[in-house]
């Protein structure tokens, strides 16, 4: 298989993100539409139903380094959230605690990460955790 270089993969992801993903529960875009390196991204997740996160809107920032997608991006929640894979002092998503980051593959994408984080919110060990006030930020 042809190995798609970083920038062309990110352009594909950008175009997919601009069209909108699936049911709209996750979205992402460039933090700075002028950034020719396409390094910094914003993400949004709408909390999964049947959990304490239902209808909450979470903002995230995602950094794709120069070796993306050979290495996964770094992901931070900007909105406060109590989730087992999220550092409670700075919002950092611990890559050793999120399966798609731990077992990262080149064909994964920003969408893969956001969707898995959303599923995590509904996991039995997270679904009922007490949550900070809605709208508060790290």
């Amino acid at each position: 298989m042809a190995k798609i270089p970083r920038n062309f993969k990110l352009l594909e992801e950008l175009e997919k993100g601009e069209k909108g993903l699936g049911d709209g529960s996750c979205s992402y875009g460039l933090a700075d539409s002028d950034d020719i390196t396409m390094s910094n991204w914003n993400g949004t997740i709408i909390g999964i139903n049947n959990s304490v996160h239902e209808n909450r809107i979470y903002s995230l920032k995602i950094h794709c380094g120069e070796h993306y997608p050979d290495v996964p991006p770094t992901v931070f929640f900007l909105s406060r959230i109590n989730l087992s894979c999220v550092n409670q002092t700075n919002g950092h998503v611990d890559p050793s605690k999120l399966s798609c980051l731990l077992n990262w593959k080149r064909n994964y994408s920003l969408e893969t990460i956001l969707m898995e984080l959303r599923r995590e919110m509904g996991a039995s060990h997270n679904r009922k955790l007490p949550q900070p006030q809605e709208g508060s930020m790290f």
Binding site: M1, A2, K3, I4, P5, N7, F8, L11, L14, S33, D34, I36, M38
Partner: protein
């Protein structure tokens, strides 16, 4: 992973007999991925500039067109802020009879003749239509600022 003969042939010719003002060199670790340099054509607002681009031949090349992007900032109505290029042969007018060389020559020609009626960067195109001299001046400034080594 075996590289199709067509890509090997094209690469050999690009290296042995490059088009004037254009160079394309494949990455050692990814022979479908090229570092491209296009010199701004004479008598264009981009004259004197050296523009870096990247080009990738997807799995289904030559049935699908190459992907090409400017990595140097450029003020041009058919090139957007992320370096994406609006050029018909990179999209619906692609034909497997075209080659990397023809694509790069077309991009070079696009620098000589910006087409504000088929814009990708709307604000730039509008500037070009409303005050062409002033837009050309901005393009020259950007060329000096971003595209000179």
């Amino acid at each position: 992973m075996a590289l199709p003969k067509r890509i090997i042939k094209e690469t050999e010719r690009l290296l042995a007999d490059p088009a004037p003002g254009i160079s394309a060199i494949p990455h050692e670790d990814n022979l479908r991925y090229f570092d491209v340099i296009i010199e701004g054509p004479n008598q264009s607002p981009f004259e004197g500039g050296v523009f870096k681009l990247e080009l990738f031949l997807p799995e289904d090349y030559p049935m699908a067109p190459p992907k090409v992007r400017f990595m140097t900032k450029i003020y041009h109505p058919n090139i957007d802020k992320l370096g994406r290029i609006c050029l018909d042969i990179l999209k619906d007018k692609w034909s497997p009879a075209l080659q990397i060389r023809t694509v790069l020559l077309s991009i070079q020609a696009l620098l000589s003749s910006p087409n504000p009626d088929d814009p990708l960067a709307n604000d730039v195109a509008q500037h070009w239509k409303e005050n062409e001299n002033n837009a050309i001046q901005t393009a020259q400034e950007w060329t000096r600022k971003y595209a000179t080594a």
